[in-house]
């Protein structure tokens, strides 16, 4: 029972793993002053991996006995994750160079985490999903606590760690039940097993199992009530790490969730759709309303990312017997995740640029940024307004697609849509808080802010992307068909 391993399919992963080993080794030989060379190395490696991924566009590869699949969905997410990796790397360089950090180890851990991300969308097997998830989380726990001297950072680490491990345990318990009930780990087979009518006495257990598995991922995507770690961790962790957690790791969670829900458990949708509806509403409401209270920029972004998770969960709640709706719901979710990540990365980039300037960053520290760093100010304004979903920016289209599916779905969809509308109007209030500071308030000191070139580059890049997509949303349509997992 030897299986032929398709090397090209896992080439990106191989390159990535090679890179991170290389980083580790290189770090050992670099003089303290030169430690930051780790970053360029990592960067090149990721670029290579990215290229390798792009070569996979379009073809459908199944390997490791169906455990690992490379299809459009996977490629899309891999590409996305690797791009995020590049951005995070760019954001990190100056930040970690100037602080007292173990740079080499940091980049190593970061890449490991990204390795997990990259594996996630291809894992079509409970075991693989579990491993990938751990691979994403475990290094995350570590780099969250990476500002060793700062108790807040340690605290971020421990909270992240505890909640993470707990939910992993819960998820594993669920997985074990699923395994026990279906006798397989492979998602597709699980799907088949569950699509046939189960014995009545097992029905509740299946549902409970699904719930437990969902809980594990709900932690990753920071959905209420599994979100508590997020604000504390984001605030305590180094800002680039927070950026990573808010985007890549969250997206990884969603990637996993999408596969589970649309491949393994579609048969039970009338059970789990309401659960997602509940989660989504809770997340939208609590996330947005709590965000209104924030004075601290990173926490604000944290709650915003929670609130946004609510919008990303919404499409799951719309899944029904109607395949077309499912397809568009799926597409909407994916699109939302991607666009959201770009906006949030941009915002975090601005924070990184600022945080070299003020220690723990209050919103009020943005006062008069329009004078001190016009480009950053404009960019930040764009991100915030886009996050609020005001056209004609990318954020609007993200919301619009979700919204549209909700209406198309009808009944429960309408309710969700209205909650979404109201909460997003509310959200505008806190999103505008930052531009208000930057533009309406005069700075206490005029000194120009010198942002790192790389970071500025990232911000501008993100801004351009958002505006471009905003005016010409068809750009999104150029992605490979998004709905490969459904139907």
């Amino acid at each position: 029972m030897n299986q032929s391993v398709d090397i090209t399919a896992i080439l990106p992963e191989i390159i990535l793993s090679g890179t991170l080993v290389l980083v580790l080794v290189a770090d050992a030989f670099l003089a303290p002053k030169r430690k930051w060379f780790a970053m360029p190395i990592a960067f090149v490696g990721v670029v290579a991996a990215l290229i390798a991924t792009l070569t996979l566009i379009g073809d459908e590869r199944v390997t490791f006995g169906g455990m690992y699949v490379v299809d459009d969905f996977a490629v899309l997410f891999k590409t996305f994750f690797l791009s995020v990796a590049l951005i995070v790397l760019m954001m990190s360089l100056r930040y970690f160079r100037e602080g007292r950090f173990y740079q080499g180890e940091f980049y190593f851990l970061l890449l490991t985490s990204f390795l997990g991300c990259v594996m996630m969308p291809s894992s079509r097997d409970l075991l693989m999903l579990f491993i990938s998830l751990e691979l994403v989380s475990a290094p995350g726990f570590l780099i969250a606590a990476f500002r060793k001297a700062d108790p807040r950072s340690n605290e971020a680490g421990i909270k992240f760690f505890l909640i993470g491990v707990l939910s992993t345990a819960v998820m594993l318990y669920g997985m074990s039940l699923v395994y026990g009930l279906t006798g397989t780990l492979n998602l597709v087979e699980i799907g088949q097993a569950l699509s046939v009518a189960l014995p009545a006495e097992q029905e509740p257990l299946v549902l409970a199992a699904i719930l437990l598995v969902v809980a594990g991922f709900a932690f990753k995507v920071s959905a209420v009530p599994f979100q508590f770690w997020a604000p504390d961790t984001y605030e305590g962790a180094p800002v680039p790490v927070a950026a990573f957690l808010a985007t890549a790791s969250k997206a990884a969670g969603f990637a996993g969730l999408l596969q589970l829900m649309f491949v393994a458990f579609p048969a039970q949708h009338e059970f789990w759709a309401p659960i997602f509806a509940t989660l989504s509403i809770l997340t939208m409401v609590i996330g947005n309303f709590v965000a209104l209270q924030q004075r601290q920029i990173v926490r604000l972004l944290a709650y915003s990312s929670i609130a946004q998770a609510g919008y990303m969960l919404l499409p799951f709640a719309l899944v029904s017997a109607d395949p077309t709706v499912n397809a568009s719901a799926f597409a909407a979710a994916v699109t939302y995740i991607l666009i959201y990540s770009i906006m949030t990365l941009g915002a975090f980039a601005v924070v990184v640029a600022m945080s070299r300037d003020a220690s723990s960053l209050q919103i009020s520290d943005f006062a008069g940024l329009s004078r001190r760093a016009p480009v950053l100010a404009i960019a930040m304004t764009v991100f915030m307004i886009s996050l609020a979903g005001i056209p004609p920016l990318a954020g609007f289209w993200a919301k619009f697609l979700v919204f549209r599916v909700a209406i198309e779905r009808g009944d429960i969809g309408i309710v969700l849509a209205i909650v979404m509308l109201i909460t997003s109007v509310v959200s505008l209030y806190y999103y505008l808080a930052v531009p208000r500071q930057m533009l309406f308030v005069e700075p206490e000191r005029e000194r120009r802010l010198s942002a790192p070139a790389l970071v500025t580059a990232v911000t501008v890049l993100a801004m351009v992307a958002i505006v471009a997509v905003g005016f010409w949303p068809e750009l999104l349509a150029h992605f490979p068909p998004l709905a490969t997992l459904v139907e």
Partner: protein, 166 residues
């Protein structure tokens, strides 16, 4: 009730008691030792379930490694003694939640699977069979886990080492 089952029940009871003590002991070291009890009895359960390899791994890694880690941790953090130091004020809430979880699971599990004994020949979870299985079907997760362990190792070292100048 077969002999195996009797054995199982005894072991299970031992493990359960150990578990209870782990979460209630007033002395952290005691707690660690009770953990050993539970883990070992779990290992025995594996044996009873004819999963030798898993059992050995359980004993080796858990009892042999993890518990040692715990003890190191306890020493390094010179953990205090006594209920107030070890437990918080919300034991009641915790108990209720725990009970709820157990109740839920128990209820769900009871009639989900037949109580009728199945006299099928158990598969031998021998080292060889599992090893082949791993290296045949589970290469990829294996590699992944190795990276995970590596990362954990490096990270743990970085975090826990005293550093004056990084």
């Amino acid at each position: 009730m077969s002999s195996q089952e009797i054995a199982f029940v005894i072991v299970a009871v031992a493990g359960t008691i150990g578990a209870f003590r782990v979460v209630t002991a007033r002395n952290v070291v005691h707690a660690a030792l009770y953990l050993v009890v539970t883990l070992s009895s779990t290992g025995v359960v594996y044996l009873l379930l004819a999963a030798e390899f898993v059992a050995w791994v359980q004993i080796l890694i858990y009892v042999g490694a993890i518990v040692i880690l715990f003890l190191f941790g306890l020493m390094l953090t010179k953990a205090p003694i006594g209920r107030e130091a070890l437990d918080n004020q919300r034991r009641g809430v915790a108990f209720l939640v725990g009970l709820a979880v157990f109740g839920g699971l128990f209820y769900l599990l009871q009639d989900a699977f037949p109580w009728t004994a199945s006299d099928v020949e158990p598969v031998q979870g021998s080292a060889s069979s599992i090893g082949t299985s791993i290296f045949a079907d589970f290469v990829l997760p294996f590699e992944a886990v190795s990276f995970l362990l590596l990362a954990a190792l490096i990270g743990a070292v970085v975090l826990s080492r005293k550093d004056d100048a990084p």
